[in-house]
């Protein structure tokens, strides 16, 4: 019976979802980090396992696995000690962005260290031979499948039991609920968190080694599983382990049973996790499994960037236009190559600007900047190349076309807390990758897309001038609303949305508006990048390539100021040119971007621009008024 086989497959992937979810929940409870790099740690270990077995024939698979899991534990501990311990005092959103950075470091690092391992035909080593197995209900089931189910579920249950019954688990839960009281009662915070990260790291490696033999082996191979693990963990509000484990196994079985479903329904498989995430988020299902008090205790401070020592610079619209004119004129004197590089920098700056508005000013985190840029790029192909629309029509349309998408995602944005919004956008980004970006009419089925620059702008110099002009206009527009009514409302909502409401500001309206502005910028950027590149594939607009770069640029330059987007973008583009000359472009630059995020986030929310601003104000004598307290007895 074929259904039995699907169900067994489903139990296997479900066990892996559950195991990954257990690690994610554990780390979230101990450190308040929603760790988007969890799967990256697992894949790093899986590569170690793979190369051990490749290079040392006769090494028992169990020994290789043990070494890989130890390496995963070490990676986890180092992630905590070098990255997350340093951002412990910051907001959850900052920690989230730091975890993006860590995933860049690890996934790029895999490429750098292991080089070419990971061609489409590579498969991981199985723990047990795939050829041998048992027959269940007339269908052959390899031992490896059974091992995945048993080991995966046992490990996940083990973590749950550890949290529930052990001394370590009790101390961890005490820390999560009331860190101060727990520390006063003698709980060693650092020790508990170190153990947590070690368990999470090694369990992620175990999950990776168990499941990767069944599919392609590459640095991104586990990311799809991580999305499903987030869906499972969401069922328990990232707090309840039993709910997360049940969610993981249930999702796995449901997903594999859909494979055997008749024609229209089997397509639901790709959208199942996204749909589940959205349903869970909207119905707030986690409240049935987690008490309000318990959830709130872990969540901590969700507000973003309320630190920072200065009011970030914005600049006047006129200054931005003048600056753009100067840069455009300067490109005329450059070689074609450098004009091209400068154009690229201007476009990356525009994408980073979209994050300044969305994340820096409004405090929302979206994993979709690359998605919106991809929509814009594909539209440049659909409208410009296929339908023959003129360039000046295509560009604004590419920006505006993102608005309906914002409408759908934005419904989530206005209702969700920052962390949940990030998960929702991750789900949407995955949905777009699996559906719209696979379409022939929209993205040429993932194959190469071609754009034709308009006659006047064929040369790299003329095109540079056009792009810098458009980007400059959008920067000037942004500077225009930054310090007036709309920009203030953004920051009111970010800093304190209750107090914003008390002043008559509708937070939902401004969250949505920031989302729309940021999507528009990303859409325009994507279309312009499509014209700049002339030929491209949608792959170049994936999270790891484009969204991560945008976060890196904004974080390093300074995510609260448009100037940060410019500084960060030029630094990034220069850096990638340096790496290009040394080969291995994308891996090294992914590592560099990740390192940039990890090193800068949490130290200063204002990046290079913030440091420069501080140095500048130190050079100038600061006028400091002599302040008398206001609420003081007038007679005294």
């Amino acid at each position: 019976m074929i259904w039995a086989q699907y169900a067994i497959f489903g139990l296997g992937v479900g066990a892996v979802f559950a195991l990954l979810a257990a690690g994610i929940v554990l780390v979230y409870r101990a450190s308040g980090v929603l760790n988007f790099a969890h799967a990256s740690i697992g894949v790093t270990g899986a590569y170690i396992d793979y190369s051990l077995l490749e290079h040392h024939a006769g090494l028992p698979v169990g020994v290789a696995l043990a070494i890989a899991m130890a390496a995963g534990a070490l990676t986890g501990v180092l992630s905590y000690r070098l990255v997350f311990e340093r951002v412990a005092h910051t907001s959850q959103v900052t920690k989230l962005i730091a975890s993006f950075g860590l995933s860049g470091v690890l996934q790029g690092g895999i490429g750098v260290v292991f080089g070419r391992i990971g061609t489409p035909t590579t498969r991981g080593h199985t723990l047990l031979p795939v050829e041998r197995g048992v027959t269940v209900a007339g269908a052959g089931v390899p031992y490896q499948r059974i091992a995945v189910i048993l080991v995966g579920i046992a490990a996940a249950l083990g973590i749950a039991a550890l949290l529930r019954f052990s001394e370590f688990g009790i101390q961890l839960r005490a820390l999560a609920q009331n860190p101060l009281a727990a520390r006063l009662a003698g709980v060693d915070d650092r020790r508990i968190q170190t153990i947590t990260w070690a368990i999470a790291g090694s369990s992620s490696v175990l999950a990776a080694v168990l499941v990767l033999p069944f599919g392609p082996f590459n640095p991104l191979a586990l990311n799809g599983f991580q999305l499903k693990a987030f869906a499972a963990a969401l069922l328990g509000g990232f707090v309840s382990l039993p709910a997360s484990l049940a969610g993981g196994v249930g999702l796995g079985v449901a997903q594999e049973l859909l494979v055997g479903a008749p024609a229209p329904f089997n397509g639901l498989r790709t959208v199942l996790a996204t749909a589940l995430i959205l349903v869970l988020l909207f119905l707030r299902v986690e409240r049935f499994f987690v008490s309000e008090q318990e959830a709130r205790a872990v969540q901590g401070d969700e507000r973003l960037f309320t630190g920072g020592s200065r009011v970030p610079v914005v600049g006047s619209p006129r200054a931005w236009l003048a600056g753009a004119a100067v840069v455009a004129a300067a490109t005329m004197t450059m070689s074609g190559f450098w004009a091209f590089v400068t154009t690229r920098a201007a476009l990356y700056a525009l994408l980073a600007l979209s994050l300044v508005v969305l994340t820096g000013w409004t405090g929302q985190v979206s994993l979709m900047p690359g998605t919106f840029a991809g929509v814009g790029a594909c539209l440049a192909w659909v409208l410009g190349t296929k339908l023959g629309f003129a360039f000046p029509v295509v560009i604004p349309l590419a920006g505006l076309a993102t608005i309906p998408v914002v409408g759908i995602v934005g419904v989530a944005a206005v209702r969700l807390r920052p962390l949940y919004l990030a998960v929702a956008t991750l789900a949407f980004a995955g949905l777009f990758d699996d559906t719209l970006f696979q379409q022939h009419w929209f993205a040429n089925g993932g194959a190469e897309l071609v754009t034709n620059r308009p006659t006047l702008l064929t040369g790299d110099h003329a095109f540079a001038a056009a792009v810098i002009g458009i980007a400059g206009a959008l920067f000037a527009f942004t500077a225009g609303f930054a310090r007036t009514r709309t920009g203030r409302a953004f920051r009111m909502v970010r800093d304190n949305d209750r107090a914003a409401e008390a002043a008559g500001v509708n937070p939902a309206k401004y969250r949505l508006l920031a989302f729309a502005i940021s999507a528009f910028y990303a859409g325009v950027m994507g279309a312009l990048l499509a014209y700049l590149l002339r030929t491209f594939t949608v792959e170049e607009f994936s999270f790891l390539v484009l969204s991560l770069a945008a976060f890196g640029i904004a974080a390093v330059g300074g995510i609260r100021t448009p100037a940060g987007a410019i500084v960060g973008a030029f630094a990034f583009v220069e850096l990638t040119e340096v790496f290009r000359s040394s080969g291995a472009v994308s891996d090294w630059s992914t590592v560099a971007v990740g390192l940039g995020i990890v090193l800068v986030m949490g130290r200063t929310p204002d990046g290079i621009v913030g440091v420069a601003q501080r140095a500048w104000s130190r050079l100038r004598p600061r006028r400091r008024a002599v302040l008398a307290p206001v609420l003081e007895p007038s007679g005294a």
Partner: protein, 258 residues
């Protein structure tokens, strides 16, 4: 003043959190310009009552009426625009904003400009921004905060932030001020000054003030409401309410705890 429509009427309002009834069928009305104090021990439901009036928590039963119009279904920002001004216990406001910008932000609902006009810096926008900036400066002068104009709220002492918050409230010229423990975290000397400041900024607005500092509330209010375990146990002139046996019992603990 029964001939006036009350600026705020709370009618049989009940708020439940799970199985706990935090506010239990509370009714009272505030006449225009009246100052009402609400006192009660911890857990009496005072802050929850304010949250229900502002719309931050949904009521299980009952109605909230502003100037005779039912506001029970309105969102918090809509109620704010109908004349509710609310201060917060933490007085945190917007930590990254300067004092000047905080005051200007209070005038959001009076402004008309939108994103596109602002992005293009149309002349109307400049004029409007100039007007709100002037209004904010005048207000800060009124509460002697001018020297602090360009400091960020995060840099101010708690007492000064409280003063900024009151100016921020006054800037919106609300019909009624809801003050949530304005004296908490202040020194005794500052509390004495606070009463005068409230009078100075309120204009002709009504005030509902809750606080643990009973002498402060009693000194400020014309009428006192005493709450215990979610219910109103006494309502009347301050002197009478403070002598009420139910109030005395709620503060000293009832028989079962003695």
């Amino acid at each position: 003043m029964p001939e006036h429509t009350p600026v705020l009427a709370v009618d049989e309002v009940t708020v439940r959190f799970g199985g706990v009834t935090a506010v239990d069928a509370v009714s009272f009305a505030v006449a225009p310009g009246e100052i009402v104090g609400i006192i009660g021990p911890n857990g009496a439901g005072k802050t929850t009552l304010l949250d229900a009036i502002c719309g931050y928590v949904t009521v299980a039963r009952g109605r909230v009426t502003l100037d005779g119009n039912d506001a029970t279904a309105l969102l918090p920002y809509q109620r704010a625009r109908r004349g509710i001004g609310r201060s917060f216990q933490d007085a945190r406001l917007y930590p990254t904003m300067t004092v000047r910008e905080t005051l200007v932000s209070a005038l959001h609902a009076t402004q008309r400009s939108g994103l596109v006009a602002e992005g293009l810096r149309l002349p109307d926008v400049r004029a409007e921004e100039q007007a709100v900036a002037d209004a904010a400066r005048d207000l800060l002068a009124l509460v002697d905060l001018t020297p602090y104009l360009d400091l960020r709220l995060a840099e101010l002492s708690f007492g000064t932030t409280r003063a900024v918050e009151l100016a921020w409230l006054a800037a919106r010229q609300p019909r009624i001020l809801l003050l949530d423990e304005p004296a908490s975290g202040l020194q005794q000397s500052e509390v004495r000054e606070l009463g005068a400041l409230v009078h100075r900024i309120r204009g002709d607005a009504a005030v509902v003030v809750i606080d643990h500092d009973v002498p402060f509330v009693a000194g400020l209010a014309q009428r006192l409401l005493a709450m215990d375990l979610g219910r109103v146990v006494a309502d009347g002139p301050p002197a009478d309410v403070l002598r009420d046996p139910a109030v005395v019992a709620s503060y000293l603990g009832s028989g079962k705890y003695r």
